[in-house]
């Protein structure tokens, strides 16, 4: 399978089949993911027919909604050439915040949600500022804030679940409602995914994000304000992570400082890498990430159905991230000398 770099030839040579063009459009990465997904579904479905039940499919869908959101934020950051490992902590902090504001405003869900999103934006801005103005490597910066934001969430909540949102109609709608037969959780994921997809693919902002990830010097020489993009992308990722935190609150009926959000960064980064985001930046797409999110969701669900020890599931997830990146590096022809790019 050789990757063709030509995205959409100005004039496609005659005789190229529609099939071939469709394949090019979808990209090798996505095709491979689809094949893997089909194989996995067949494998699990054959051993556990429950898998195909509507209830189970819904379980998968709602289970991936939150990690999917974070993976989409991560996709933007990785395309920019950076990484955000603080997203899980931001989600936790936002979850606590949404419930505490909800309680403090004697039951205003909109204020709780808005407050959580604002806090997510601030967290993202802190990340961006530390990176841009402190000149700190993104991995180190967000590793630090991973700890710090989690600490803040534990401090304000005393380490305990906060409030009770389980009877508020807005939170109930978010957690268990449905529109046109599709759960609200999945709608949230779809809407955010679409928005980011349009941003990346059809706007100059998205084009510049790819440019910065591809060659930041060239981007700067072209007059692109790189600092503004770093701040903007981290801010957006913070807001998206906070939205994930709001969904955690909705699903559990209370604000959770740690439970449900810890480890989400690993899932988000794994999904993005598996979905074709190059760790060095400049490459990736929402479509690939979404496919990978579904693949990971099916895998987790399948392992649970098949009764595989959850500890092994963690090993499998870690392994998958390494394998995804190894495949990427091999395909990009990275030489096995020194520290990898």
């Amino acid at each position: 399978m050789s990757q063709t770099r030509v995205e959409a030839p100005a004039a496609a040579p005659e005789g190229r089949s529609a099939m071939r063009r469709a394949l090019d459009g979808a990209g090798v990465q996505n095709i491979s993911l689809l094949i893997a997904l089909v194989l996995l579904v067949a494998l699990i479905g054959a051993r556990e027919p429950v898998f195909f039940g509507a209830a189970n499919l819904k379980t998968i869908g709602t289970a991936v909604a939150i990690s999917g959101l974070l993976a989409i934020g991560q996709t933007m950051v990785i395309i920019l050439g950076a990484l955000d490992i603080s997203v899980g902590s931001v989600a936790g902090l936002a979850s606590v915040a949404s419930a505490m504001i909800f309680t403090a405003t004697t039951g205003s869900a909109p204020l709780g949600i808005l407050g959580a999103l604002v806090i997510g934006a601030l967290c993202g801005l802190v990340n961006g500022c530390v990176i841009v103005y402190g000149r700190v490597n993104p991995v180190i910066a967000t590793l630090a804030t991973l700890a710090a934001f989690k600490g803040v969430a534990q401090l304000v909540s005393n380490g305990r679940a906060q409030g009770y949102t389980g009877s508020d109609p807005v939170f109930v709608f978010l957690a268990r409602g449905a529109v046109a037969g599709i759960p609200t959780l999945i709608w949230v994921l779809i809407i955010v995914a679409l928005a980011v997809h349009v941003l990346l693919k059809y706007t100059d902002i998205g084009r510049n994000i790819y440019a910065i990830g591809g060659n930041d010097v060239a981007a700067r020489l072209a007059g692109i304000n790189i600092n503004r993009y770093i701040l903007g992308v981290y801010l957006a990722t913070g807001v998206i992570a906070a939205l994930g935190g709001v969904l955690i609150t909705a699903r559990t009926g209370s604000g959770q400082p740690i439970s449900g959000s810890e480890g989400l960064e690993l899932e988000a980064i794994t999904a993005a890498a598996l979905g074709g985001c190059a760790m060095r930046g400049g490459k990736g797409a929402v479509s690939g990430t979404l496919l990978a999110v579904v693949l990971l969701g099916v895998l987790t669900n399948g392992m649970t159905l098949l009764g595989i020890n959850p500890f092994w599931q963690n090993v499998a997830k870690g392994l998958l991230l390494v394998v995804a990146v190894v495949i990427q590096q091999v395909r990009s022809g990275e030489r096995r000398v020194g520290l990898p790019a």
């Binding site: 770099r5 030509v6 995205e7 959409a8 030839p9 100005a10 004039a11 349009v198 059809y202 706007t203 100059d204 084009r207 510049n208 790819y210 440019a211 990830g213 591809g214 060659n215 010097v217 060239a218 981007a219 700067r220 020489l221 072209a222 007059g223 692109i224 400049g282 490459k283």
Partner: protein, 254 residues
Amino acid sequence: MTPVLELRGIDKSFGPVQVLHDVDFSVHPGEVTALVGDNGAGKSTLVKCIGGIHAVDSGEYFFDGKTVQINSPRDAAELGIEIVYQDLALCDNLDIVQNMFLGREHRRGIVLDEDTMEEMAARTLESLSVRTVKSIRQHVSSLSGGQRQTVAIAKAVLWNSKVVILDEPTAALGVAQTAQVLELVRRLADQGLAVVLISHNMNDVFAVSDRIAALYLGRMAAQVRTSDVTHAQVVELITSGRSGDLGLTNGVSA
């Protein structure tokens, strides 16, 4: 004829190191001005000052006879000054059209206007008689050195620019590709643009330039008509800053 671009008394330091000393430099429309000098003489730095990448410490900057302030690459671009940097500054992960419009994308409403950009890119490449690229939707990573240079030049002339500056465009090219790029350089000047060509190769310089400006250790040793000097004189200006009655006396412009 008045120069389209003129610098007077430019000083530029990086920390304690002064890289440009009291540099005068002028560029005329319809001409190729060769900017020569040894490695580290300050050619790229001068070009980056012109392009708004570096702020100058002192000196005057005239465009079309009027004083202007250049604080960013955007300011220079707005005047019609385009620079093809030594390291080319192309994004390998983007295609030719995307690179040509980098940072200046056309939009229709809030979305990118791909059709217009593709058409303009194709027209520009055609006007430069570039026929070597297969598809303008090809990723830049798949192009040869000469093709990349061509794309970078096409990117520079896309904007109805008045001044195009090329920093060592032929340094990494083979003989045939060098000839192609030089031909392109000459054609730009013949179309009325002011072209600045930085090069180490005396044959290239004498083949296409109308004027030669020689930098020596950050000082402008001489700016002369190409027809008034010989290879040997230019080499002397580059290596010692002076040649006969041309050049610097005691490190100061004559």
